[in-house]
């Protein structure tokens, strides 16, 4: 019976020692002076808090296929704009623009515009379609 207690204490200590986190700083995370565009097939749509993510397989600047992580708004903000967890599906071909992450190895972007040519669905070009 001692082992579970030790494990529980260790987990508890680790949890208590964790540092509180911060809201993203877009300027610290992304190079907001640049805009890039990717076009590829959506492989996962993570509709969640604090921020949603869209993962897209698309080529990088060397033509190598990468899994791009595109940061989007939280469920409350996107929900108010008509976006829900069913809006995007794996296999959707999408065109996304936005600033790239500061670390090129992360292959991340912040969502500024999204277009799904197959049905014309878009986000980011109408008033209010932003997130913080």
């Amino acid at each position: 019976m001692k082992r579970p207690l030790v494990v529980a204490l260790a987990v508890g200590l680790l949890w208590c020692g964790a540092a509180a986190r911060a809201h993203h700083s877009f300027a610290a995370t992304y190079d907001e002076t640049k805009t890039i565009k990717i076009e590829g097939k959506l492989v996962q749509f993570l509709f969640r808090n604090p921020h949603s993510f869209v993962h897209v397989m698309a080529p990088d600047d060397k033509g190598q296929m990468q899994r791009w992580a595109v940061e989007w708004g939280g469920t409350g903000v996107l929900g108010a704009q008509g976006v829900n967890r069913e809006t995007l599906k794996p296999g959707d071909v999408v065109i996304i623009t936005g600033p790239p992450g500061r670390n090129p190895a992360d292959f991340r972007m912040r969502m500024v515009t999204l277009l799904r040519p197959s049905d014309g669905f878009g986000w980011g070009t109408k008033a209010g379609e932003t997130f913080d």
Binding site: A22, A28, E32, R48, K126, D132
Partner: protein
Amino acid sequence: MAITLRGGHARPLLILFALLAFSAPAFAQIDITGSWGSRLHEDWMERCCGRDLGDYTGIGINDEARAKALSWDASQNSLRERQCLLFSPWTGQFQPQGVRIWSEVDAAGEIVAWKLSGNIQKDVVTIWMDGRPHPSPNAFHDFSGFTTGRWEGDTLVAQTTHMKTAILRRSNGIPKSDLATAAVYITRHDDLLTIVTIEEDPVYLAEPLFISRTYQLDPRGNQGFWEPCWAVTEIPRLEGSGIVPNYLPGENPNRTYIAETYAIPQEAAMGYAETLYPEFRKKLRGMYKAPDACGRYCCGWLPVGGGSVNPAPTLSCNDTGEGKTVAESGK
């Protein structure tokens, strides 16, 4: 039983009773309950989108804080175990979200505590109004800290201790220790609420950090009491890799970005205490040069989406434009 007042004492006593009847109780003098929206036009860069890496201007930090901040990489927030960690109390002063305030009463109907929350990953901060003491310095430090308050006139004055260590100030890596304390002043002016926080930190701050922010009553704001967070794979390369994104000492490429961009001394960007004082402005005279083009916070951060209007029309935007794929642009 009727009480009859006679003689010269009647009038002063009646006035005294009247004054007592119309005076507010000694506590909960002002109702601060409600959904208070953040007004982002105040300190827009701080409250909305965050500062650049290496921008510690206006915050007096010491060498330890500077070293830790310069080692910080924003992608640390994407580590699965860190995505849903709760914020430290009063982080909202640096965030775009508003605040919801409600009260708790005892059996006699007296307010024993004010509660503040209303954000994803924000713990409920309880301001105890019942006169209880702060616990021992060795007591448990949790995400909401421990806060007591009292009314001074129409201002709710509070003191927060027992906070956890945090990377939160300005969201660009400036740390806060678990020895930090915050003096808080909450004042309502009709539909506006001003929250002033004065944080002191013997570990990381060289000067007290004074922040004043205004919120506006917004019954339609529907600031939540609590919103859930789900940890997922945000950045695929980090998943299961054991990587903790960071910069080794001297290797942060953004260390000189602010100094170079605005042509200011490096110590101004790095948050040295002397840079907070008016005398330091003499050093800047003739040095500061506004960038030729504004890349964001003027028309840049929301240039494409939202149809936002350029609030600084005399500045040109350094928007690199769209229309090129990554491969095409070669970036």
